[in-house]
């Protein structure tokens, strides 16, 4: 009897370990299977494409958020940063397409560097610092066009969010692919990625191991701001209008949820870049399946919350 229960508990441990490792993937698969069964037209290629295309926003912002959270911080200014990138690009468009994009991204990088500096050097709480940035940047984006919608009539700019390579692959999925590969490479193959994870895991040890923790944290917030800017520009192009009020509203929440569901510890440390993608797909899949089943939006939020809790629960570290 004793042996049997030992075996069972050993099996239980394996299962728990597997759930912790692949919890998010498991939830994704279950959701796809459930949708395939109940949602009409779900398995059509068009639907699947839609999920992938529409999850681009969450994946892109989620990449920056993965780096930030891995470094032991958090960035809730992402949505407002998107609005700044969007507005700045739209305003600067008369200078030409490339200068407009580059200058607006440079502005985002500068703002990100400022955020990082305040957090790393002046030791402000990441939550508070990025909260104030969230307010300041949103306000700034609105002020840029007197809180009004700015319509854009530029065919080339419109291509960023709407052009499909050889008529099928949207340009933005390509951008997302490059971003994911870059972040994966940084986090897994470069010294910077190790510094980020190390600083997030134990800042004391990291400093004593010779890591420039201040520089590392500043870089992380610059990445987050950069990806937010890129996302903002893509959104603006899709809509052919820059809206300082609406663009990126609550985007930071989706990004944080994707990272959490993806298995990166909220306390910092080991980053799960690919997990964030799974997390982003889950978030988007919920939205789409709710839409296709005519469930009201309000209820969708509740379902989202429930799925996040299940996924995070499966991967939680065993309480001490």
């Amino acid at each position: 009897m004793a042996n049997l229960s030992d075996e069972r508990s050993a099996q239980g441990k394996h299962l728990a370990a597997a759930a912790r490792k692949y919890g998010a993937l498991l939830v994704l698969i279950v959701m796809i299977a459930a949708n395939a069964a109940i949602t009409p037209n779900f398995l059509k290629a068009g639907t699947l494409w839609n999920i992938i295309i529409q999850s681009c926003t969450i994946i892109l912002t989620g990449m920056g958020m993965t780096m930030v959270i891995s470094s032991g911080g958090i960035d809730i200014s992402v949505g407002s940063m998107m609005a700044v990138g969007s507005m700045a690009a739209a305003k600067l468009l008369p200078l030409g397409l490339a200068p407009a994009i580059l200058l607006s991204l440079a502005l985002c990088l500068l703002m990100g560097a400022f955020t990082g500096f305040m957090i790393a050097k002046l030791r402000l709480q990441p939550m508070i610092m990025t909260l104030t940035m969230m307010m300041a940047l949103r306000g700034g984006a609105q002020v840029m066009n007197n809180a009004m919608l700015l319509y854009i009539n530029d065919a080339r700019f419109a291509m960023i969010g709407n052009y499909k390579i050889s008529g099928a692959l949207p340009l933005q999925t390509f951008v997302v692919l490059v971003a994911v590969l870059a972040v994966y490479f940084i986090m897994e193959k470069m010294s910077l990625g190790r510094y980020i994870q190390s600083v997030g895991d134990n800042p004391h040890s990291s400093r004593l191991a010779g890591i420039n923790t201040v520089r590392t944290i500043i870089i992380v917030y610059m990445f987050s701001a950069f990806f937010a800017g890129v996302t903002g520009i893509i959104e603006t192009s899709r809509l052919s209008a820059a809206d300082g009020n609406a663009i990126g509203r609550l985007a930071e929440m989706d990004a944080i949820a994707a990272v959490a569901v993806g298995g990166t510890s909220m306390l910092g440390g080991r980053a799960h870049v690919l997990g964030t993608i799974v997390g982003a797909l889950i978030m988007q899949l919920i939205t789409i399946s709710v839409n296709m089943n005519n469930i009201p939006f309000e209820l969708a939020q509740v379902i989202k919350a429930a799925v996040i809790i299940v996924a995070v629960f499966l991967q939680r570290e065993k309480a001490r």
Binding site: K189, S191, R194, S198, S205, S206, L208, G210, I211, N212
Partner: protein, 520 residues
Amino acid sequence: MYYASGGECEKVEKELLLDMKGIDKIFPEVHALRGVDFVVRKGEVHALMGENGAGKSTLIKVLTGIYEKDGGSITFDGGEISPRNPLEAQHAGISAIYQELNLVPFLPVYENIFVGREPVTRLRIVNREEMARRADEVLGDMGIRIDVTEPLNSYSMAIQQMVAIARAITINAKLVIMDEPTSSLDTKEVKVLFSVVRRLVEKGIAVIFISHRLDEVFEVAERVTVLKDGQLVGEFKVSELDQLKLVSHMIGREAKDMERKKFDYRYADAEELAVMRNIRQGVRLSGIDIDVKKGEILGLAGLLGSGRTELAKILFGAEIPDGGEILFMGRGMRLKAPKDAIDAGMGFCTEDRKIEGAIPHLSVRENITIAMLPQICRFGVVSGKKQDETVRRFIERLDIKTPSPNQTMRNLSGGNQQKVLLSRWLCLNPKLVILDEPTRGIDVGTKAEIENLIQELSNTGISVLMISSEIAELERNCDRVAVMREGRKLGELTGADISQNKIMELIAQGHRKFGEKECA
């Protein structure tokens, strides 16, 4: 294990207040307390002594309900208790005053004394006048006269501590525990504290006094209980002890199962690698000179709080001194961060592996190579080949027991984690390695391995600066030992002169020497 005072004479003495018997506390990795007995009598000041990790704070935490005991019994004031949280302990009459005071700094003094138990009027409104009046009274009884309506943080640390004590008195504490109450006080403030302690005792309240400063224990305590490695060494009457005896009880002598490595001092004419001149930092270090010669093992001996770790951190650039000069290989250094020291050729294994060493959720591989990444990177890309090669070499050389280099650091045992951290520095080919308590919390077998490795390093010309609370360990391994006490260097011993007795004598004499200076 032995007891200084016989059972017979105790009967005529003060009545027992607290009787802890056979207390056991087991944590996942360590057996923190093994059958510890601890007795406090009514109206006595009882010092609890022992080096770091001896189990003092664990014992206190069991007593105050922060930890649950795994065995043994606690009898307090005639009845058995087993408090499950500090509040229950407080109700029983046990109050603890911690190093970090758990008071509310911006509230007035009187509110701090009565917070949570405010006297109220008939309308259930907080009666501030009553509170202020009673606060005045309690503090007045202790000989403290201050304006109790001022916020707490407008007063000195000493007064704040008095307020904490006043709070304990008003909840009718029979036993007050003071954990390092003097660590942030100056000499005058300590005197005030002690006079308050004596008043408490006159009222029949017992005080458990935890301090690392020997002088204070001799001044204020009646008895002392010494713990070592989670076990009781014994209970002694302070009047029957001297400092040397107390130090040797605290540090203990381990069985000589490990051999002493060397006797001759061969480095008298060796070139100086690192020189620290007149290093000062706050109250921790008051002008220290230390030099490390090429290839020698220099030990730093002293009790906790003597400034050894602070000195090491300054040499490694982890802390900036208030004043003084550091030379490394003859060049003046201005160390702003550990990175500067690492670039110069130093490595530092810290005392607290968990907080200042391990990167717990990353792999053994990353933990070994984190400091050497700049050397194995090209354009920021880590060479996986060089990394794996280094990791394999050190796992083999130090015999690190890990299922694979990908194993998460925190899953390793203490000894193997220490080996990983040693590897982190050795793979940089350093000129100087600083080891702060390199064998603390490590089993005997691994300990011997690490000691052998230290000798090996010295033989290949690497200098070692070694800090250890275990004097036997310094005796076995060091070419030279510098003895510190309260931020000063008391003297140095070399070669065959290094012995546990001589080191302990130096530590114990230190107080007399400086005492005389003060008088003159």
